[in-house]
């Protein structure tokens, strides 16, 4: 409708106001705040790059950054790959119980991780959790401390047992979501491609790798990028599993941001937010580049 009317302005006034007041405005101010020292009341003091310079020497920041990156790198690719493989099986004509499986696998996406986290914590808790007991029960001398332990091996100082637990739970939680999205993508693949590959004598694995996988590449890119962005901002699950026993081996960027906020070190909190913002931006730009290449 190209007629002149006030309607679009009326329809958009409230949405634009909300997005401006609660998202765009606060983001710009938040990025600016990273260059100030402020406790939330009284005047803010401009410190330039002071906060960022402090970050470099902050013994808490580096573990938080490292843990966040480890979490992203070790949780996103496995859940995307698991989702792909599950989808290729579930989508096959001979598969029985598709709806049931889809419901079960999607459940962790829907249910509050705060509630499910309690069950996981009970499973993993060193004082009476099922898994540590099972490990001792089958004859091991002692079980790793899944929620508070140190590095899993002396040559892997950057990977602690609690991080492994968080990563496993994240994969558990997101694999079904990836599967459901791959199912949607697979239903759009042209059957004749498979038939052509078969005529050419391709093996099952060959079809999977050379036909299916390339066909769903846009979905893979989407899941990877949204997974990385979500992983960079991870909070709920970390809070649910480790807020009671927080250490340097479990702290993530987002948790550190929140802790600094609670301590009324708002400028510092915002500066860490700036780092998170930069990481998100880089990911988004990579996404745009990948999408453009796919479109070409």
């Amino acid at each position: 409708m190209r007629g002149r009317s006030a309607s679009p302005y009326l329809f958009l006034a409230f949405p634009v106001a909300i997005l401006t007041v609660f998202t765009v405005g606060p983001t710009l101010l938040g990025l600016a705040l990273g260059f100030f020292d402020w406790s939330g009341s009284g005047p803010a003091r401009f410190v330039g790059l002071g906060n960022y310079r402090s970050l470099v020497h902050d013994s808490r920041f580096w573990p938080a950054l490292r843990n966040t990156l480890v979490f992203v790198l070790l949780s996103v690719p496995p859940s995307v790959l698991a989702g792909f493989l599950l989808a290729t099986i579930v989508q096959a004509r001979w598969f029985v119980g598709r709806t049931l499986v889809r419901t079960a696998l999607f459940l962790p996406t829907v249910v509050s991780i705060i509630a499910v986290g309690v069950v996981w914590r009970w499973l993993l808790d060193s004082a009476g959790g099922l898994l540590p007991r099972a490990i001792v029960g089958v004859g091991f001398e002692r079980s790793p401390d899944f929620l508070q332990g140190g590095p899993i091996a002396s040559w892997l100082p950057w990977l602690s047992w609690p991080m492994v637990s968080l990563i496993v739970i994240q994969v558990w939680r997101t694999a079904g979501y990836c599967m459901v999205l791959y199912l949607a993508a697979l239903s759009g693949v042209n059957e004749s491609l498979y038939e052509a590959a078969e005529v050419d004598g391709a093996t099952r694995v060959g079809v999977l790798r050379n036909v299916t996988w390339p066909e769903v590449a846009p979905m893979t890119a989407f899941l990877m990028v949204t997974g990385v962005i979500g992983g960079l901002q991870v909070f709920d699950i970390v809070w649910a599993m480790t807020s009671a026993t927080e250490t340097d081996s479990t702290v993530t960027l987002n948790l550190y941001i929140f802790r600094e906020f609670q301590q009324s070190r708002l400028g510092y909190s915002a500066a860490i937010g700036g780092v998170l913002f930069a990481l998100t931006l880089v990911t988004t730009m990579l996404q745009l580049r990948v999408m453009r290449r796919n479109a070409a």
Binding site: S5, P8, G273
Partner: protein, 287 residues
Amino acid sequence: MSSRAPSIVTRLAAHALVYAVAASMLLPFLWMVSTALKTDLQALPREAAGESVTFLPPGWPWEWRWGNFADAARAVSLWDFYQNSLVAAALTTLVAGVHNALAGFALAKFRFRGQRAVFWLVMSTMMLPVQVSFIFAYIAAGRLGMVDNIQALVVPFAVSGFGIYSMKQAIATVPDSLLEAGRLDGMSDLELFWHVVRPIAWPTIAALGIFTFVASWNSFFWPLVVVDSVHSKTLPLAVAELSAGRYVQSWPVRMAAMTILTLPLIVVFVIFQRAFVRGVAMAAVKE
């Protein structure tokens, strides 16, 4: 997908694998519910109860203690938290449903000055992390009198970039000729929205609504920032404290509370799962 069906062994192995994964998704929930029905002693590992260690499976409740649910509801003012979560999620869904759709309509079917700017504003909000914006969003909410109340959980989510974008994509498929015909019949833009756009875009509106409801129901970070007092706490906040043993010590009673929190959402999901899954998939495939 392949016209050659694989051998029976392969098929069986594939089923076993997928069912095992599906079971792993269900077990924590089953365990939660079964523990919620146990006595304190039953819920403890047997070793602590003076017997040898038997750890798996989590075990069937021998005598079903439905009383745990009553205990949970009594110990934790669950009903209040429930009400807060329900009101916040329902209001958010309703308000966001209307405004996302209207904004999507404006962007999809009108030409107006500043359109590109608005579109990019909407798009940009999809990639702005809340961890950067929450400090001033909190301050803004405070200035508007929205701290520690239900409005604070609703108004900031009254629209979303993702919602507006999805609605714009859906409404773009409404044929212009239908809108022109409505125009000739003398419909106002709002009437066009209600009588022409809404019915056609309904699947997207519904899917987005379910999506919004679940996101609001489960939201944790923002409520943690903006809610202080007991009277406006939502269920996830209460559950986080509950799990830390703030209200009750008994594990079965805690699990009963978790069950009360999650079960309604599971039921809603199972009922609406088609729409839900389609909504999620639709949003991604369009990307």
